[in-house]
Amino acid sequence: MIAANDVGLLAGLIGATILLYVAARLPFGTIFAALRPVLIICGFIFALQLVLAGLPQAAATALRIIALVLLTSLVTLTTRLSDMLDTLTSAARGLAPLGIDPPKIALAVGLTIRFIPMLLHDFQEVQNARKTRGGRGFSILAAGPLIIKILRMTDALGNAIAARGFENRK
């Protein structure tokens, strides 16, 4: 599909994909929301191709990207996050013979999602401390200590989980 260069075919494919969006009862706006992140780069590539290779090639490229993004986004839009994560865990179960431990993957996913607001908070704390002292923006000098701080916190957390017998729980 990546090789498809026929503008008519691609336009038809986009039309069919939009019908799938309608069939999935997604509001019309989601189509634009799905395309928004690639719109600028798509326009940029269109302009570049227009200069380099002419209109048919430029149109085909832009349409191909739009079709691919719309189709793949449809999967994400119509699948619950919990289902996606379940798929991930069951795929991990299939990889168990390779030494991959599914419960540890689930733990890693959960920890990552929990860590994100924590890291944002730490980052903001450093910035506020700087602001109080009259500094502006983020100082590179703060990056090292910040990383060590979060490494320490992570060590403590890992030890706490280990101490509660996560590994011996089989």
Binding site: P37, I65, K104, L119
Partner: protein
């Protein structure tokens, strides 16, 4: 793998996500803003080493793929991997693996310059190679044009490699994770 390692892996996956949230710098003349996100694989590789660093980036890419909006600009989902910039994200695990491998090899002698060089080769070389190949493939550009379109990010990425190197040295002195692992390897 110890639970502590799982926690480190989760931490650097989260760190890569948070780096995408830090205010973006818009260059004005380039359509894509510069973000700090590509610092993620650099820091993961040079602080955690090859195995854990690469796994943290695999986790990050997987979480993006299942639909969490963790990429800069709140992007996420399978659509990301069909977009022209897909290669730059897919390259993260390999970049972290290579940076980690090189960092572990020179660990006892690691200084700013060697860390800087490692981060340039792994964090810029590998990411650009895969990213530009992906851009050329999806956007139908020649490799040369795709490369020319990406070159505007080079100054910012060099800056990030320098930042990653200085943080790596700071962490090596103050709270080394790679060395700790070697000391404790007998209790695995």
């Amino acid at each position: 793998m110890r639970i502590q390692d799982v926690a480190y892996i989760a931490l650097f996956a989260a760190l890569t996500a948070v780096l995408g949230l830090i205010p973006r710098i818009d260059l004005g003349f380039v359509p894509v803003p510069i973000t700090a996100q590509s610092l993620g694989p650099m820091l993961a590789g040079s602080i955690l080493g090859a195995r854990r660093g690469a796994l943290s980036q695999v986790l990050f890419v997987l979480l993006v793929a299942v639909g969490l909006p963790l990429l800069a600009g709140g992007r996420g989902g399978l659509g990301v991997f069909a977009s022209p910039s897909a290669g730059f994200v897919i390259a993260f695990p390999l970049a972290a693996a290579l940076i980690g491998l090189a960092t572990e090899r020179v660990w006892s002698r690691l200084g700013f310059l060697s860390a800087f060089a490692i981060n340039i080769v792994g964090g810029i070389g590998i990411v650009y190679a895969i990213g530009i190949a992906g851009l050329a493939l999806i956007a139908g550009l020649s490799l040369r044009d795709a490369g020319a379109a990406s070159i505007v990010f080079l100054p910012g990425d060099l800056l990030k490699a320098a930042l990653a190197a200085s943080v790596a040295i700071f962490v090596k002195r103050g709270y080394p994770v790679i060395e700790t692992r070697q000391v404790r390897s007998d209790d695995l």
